[in-house]
Amino acid sequence: MKFSEVNKPVKRVDAYEKVTGKAKFGADLFFPNMLYGKALHSKYPHAQIIKINTEKALTYPGVKAIITAEDIPNNKFGVIIQNQQVLAQEEVLYIGDGIAVVAAETKEAASEAIKLIEVEYKELPGIFDPEEAAKKDAPLIHSELEDNQVVHHRVRKGDVEKAFTQAEVILEREYTTQFVEHSYIEPEAIIAVPYEHNSLVTIYGSIQNPFSCRNAVANVLKVPLNKVRIIQNHMGGSFGGKDEVISSMAARAAVLALKTNQPVKMVNTREESILESYKRHPYKMKYKVGATKEGKLVAMEIKCIADSGAYACQTPFVTWRSVVQATGPYELPSVKTDTYGYYTNNIYTGAMRGYGSPQIVFAQESLMDELADELKMTPLELRLKNIYHNNSITASGQKLDNHQVSLEEVIAKAVKASNYIEKYIEYNKSQLGDKKRGIGMAVSFRGCSLGAEATDAAGAIVAIQRDGSILISSGLAENGEGLKTVFSQIAAEELGVDIKRINYMEVDTSVSPESGATVASRSTLLGGNAVKNAAQQIKRTITEMIADKFKVKSGDLVLRNENIYNKNNNQKIMSFDDAVDLANKLGVFLSAYGWYKAPDISWDEETGQGRPYFTYVYGCQIAEVEVDTATGQIEVLKMVAAHDVGRAINPVTLKGQIYGGIMMALGYGIMEEVEIASGYIKNTNFDEYLIPTIKDMPEIIPIIVENPDPHGPYGAKSIGEPTLELGAPAIANAVAQATGRRIRHLPLNLERVLLGHSLSKGGTKNDIL
């Protein structure tokens, strides 16, 4: 297939404004009479609020208003389960719960005033371990519920008990992962403007999902959706992280803006951001696998427990993706998987790039290597014996028959590019000196888009202006990944015009079609199809208009190179500009709403059987490491990443996703951890919460594999999240080969690598010894 705009490394449409510093982010916006909001956070992870006294704070110069839970029309919100408090009402449930918010004329006044708010607490014992929360006699985190369970998902396939009796080798292992912070470079920022244009309140800011934010704010204010307008600004990163925490901030700012009748701006410091924003779920995972001596898997039994923290947030869906993908991409006749989420008084957990997959992929891919070791096979051999192919049946009973199952291909390409086979043999030999090398792989399959979580549809508007310039607006939001560029490429491709004609609009919830959330690596697939659909409608309008006037068949007309041609004789009929002029004269409407609804899926919650996702992507990453076995330092030398994306709409931004995903995975794998002790967070800034720097970046070899999917625009599927879920297990497997010692807990920090276990600081956080 020949393309003119897609499948090409087109320059980002928002590059200029970003590299020149002209792009406006939330914190860059100012409005006349704007006030600054600051939230007072809890002093304890779990406590009853006896009394809040704001009198002194209200007298602080410049303070205009203070709100508490009493002032919030509807204090509970949530995307799935509405139990997150905008401000703590009777109890604080985690250390980052807000208690009051001050609006003042200056940031400084707001910061000083919150110190003057007197809160009388009765400290309550907390639950900080989800397994404690699961116990029958455990105190309730949410008193209105019967127990602390957020959710329980199941997959039941075959007879696991019987299958294990037939297994020749059985392995049981436990793996754990840690709390992780998104570490977006731009902390949360919101400005709520009251009575702007015809809206009750307009919200600007760093908003990942404008429509989720609108739902939350409208629900909290108890007003119709059309009274709340959300306009997204440029985003300094999100990675799944600017959803509920931003909705909460927007709701607080909106209440204050309406109370004061002045715009209210709230910008978190990094400390506030880490303290109150949700994290990636820590998981405890028990895996039991049975296989024949020849290495054919016969059964797997899995139990995963996720710490949901104080609120449900995204736990029901995060653990759902885990239950679908928990076995990894391996043919298994018998599977029993249970995933659970429990409330605790830890910081709440939610969406973060990967969404329930980085945890289980770490476990299942570590397990496969351990099993290979047990069977005296290479990790590659064991995987090749068991991976999915076309028409394989998944643990959920889904036959993979509607797209190319390309695991073998991605593995082969990654193996070749990394020289895996030779290096695996070389590093298995005894190595002299403290520094030992290893090479490790990880593979995965990943369901594209939302799956059975929710209705899956998206819309877009393509509007051709009088002069032939084009505006695009979509309900899905640029998060920095390159969505605007990809959507512009698709519109340009369909209309046969130069991408320079297109101006891509920010999401404005009062204009853009509601499209669900920008999550689940779904934008190119869902939103791309919606843009394509809108552009095709306009194309049809144009060709019918010309066919009518020139007495040709509209089906014979093609739009390309800024012109309209008759495809039979390749003759130019008119330019695109002339066609627009003609439409103007004839009164032909050259705008369209595009819509795309994902194919049907199914899911039985009792058995976990059905078609949970309509298509999947496949990936293989291989890590080569050097471990200093005398200090515990890991150097990742090289990462090879082969991903089947269906079709690369923009190969350069796609590679950017791979580089970024691998760096986030490297941090997840070897250094990142939000240290939480009894609900208190110890590392609230980047001096203590370490993420990789450019100096830690290994050589990365991205390999784009293209097997066009029948459902994707031009065959395109997903890339954002798959890039993140494979790095940590690939590194862990490489480290295990290098050291001869398996580490089953993330991160693989200095202490774990040198000693085999972690060390806990305890004491005060300022004690660096």
Partner: protein
């Protein structure tokens, strides 16, 4: 929010006047530690009413050779320590250590004087400076005194600097012939990394290959960097041809624990500090053997 009066001066004399006249003055040099602590309202920061900015005093930005000493102004940045031929040539250990500090931005702002006066247990310049027997010159309006750096430090983030004194000079005696130096560091990542552990080693190897005048100063191992005399003595007199590195490793671990007792991090630091001294010695021995040939 911490509020204070801001003072600035372009001359040492003026700065000393301020220190004499005002009390509770915090001195600002590069600011790479201080500004963070002010922002954080760190409990480590003593209460202060005045901030005295000395960063514009040209008289504090020198590196000169005076007789048998290299003299360094306290405002010399880490970047200059890395680049300056006088430092690279005479004390490569100092350049190496400076290279491991923070990031480019921090190395461009942060100063040797600040690193000394802040006296962090993890300061990267303190172990090499102590091992080089550096001295600090402390000047007040009324007097001037010289202390060895090791004596100047009294605890984590604590020094003998008096309220009216300014660190005006760092003096490092030149090493004679036959001296070797090395600096080792473990961090949790490759840049912007506070030392999990570091170690400076300075030693003299005579023509027979015997160690003398060995100085071993680990960082992040003890409440504040200090010499390890037992380890030093155990190296002195040994030969590069038959020194038992495993034994030295055990000795340095024991000496560390004798100072700190068992801390939460001891199980990691015991083997790690042994590794660092072994690596430093190995490197020096290799160099000495190369020189011999």
């Amino acid at each position: 929010m911490i509020s204070y009066e801001f003072l600035t001066s372009k001359k040492i004399e003026e700065a000393l006047d301020y220190l004499d006249k005002f009390s509770k003055v915090q001195i600002l040099a590069g600011g790479t530690d201080l500004l963070v602590n002010i922002h954080k309202e760190s409990p480590r920061l003593p209460h202060f009413d005045y901030l005295l900015d000395i960063s514009n005093i040209p008289e504090l930005k020198f590196i000169t050779l005076v007789k048998n000493f290299i003299e360094i102004g306290p405002l010399v940045t880490h970047f200059r320590l890395i680049e300056e031929p006088l430092i690279k040539g005479n004390f490569p250990i100092l350049s190496t250590a400076a290279q491991t500090i923070g990031s480019v931005q921090i190395r461009n702002r942060g100063t040797i004087g600040g690193n000394i006066v802040n006296a962090s247990p993890a300061a990267d310049l303190l172990p090499p400076l102590i091992a080089l027997k550096a001295e600090v010159v402390l000047t007040s309006k009324k007097s001037e005194r010289i202390l060895s750096l090791e004596k100047f430090l009294t605890g984590p983030y604590k020094t003998k600097l008096q309220a009216d004194e300014l660190l005006t000079k760092i003096k490092i005696p030149l090493l004679g012939d036959g001296y070797y130096t090395d600096f080792q560091k473990i961090g949790r990542r490759k840049a912007l990394s506070i030392a999990r552990l570091n170690l400076a080693l300075v030693t003299k190897i005579d023509e027979k290959g015997v160690f003398h005048d060995t100085r071993v100063v680990p960082g992040s191992a003890t409440p504040y960097p200090q010499s390890f005399p037992v380890t030093e003595e155990s190296v002195n007199g040994k030969s590069i041809f038959n020194i038992d590195l495993e034994e030295i490793g055990e000795i340095v671990s024991k000496e560390m624990v004798s100072i700190t007792g068992e801390r939460w991090s001891t199980p990691y630091k015991k083997p790690a500090i042994a590794t660092l001294i072994k690596r430093a010695l190995e490197k020096i021995i290799k160099e000495a053997k190369t020189n011999e040939n």
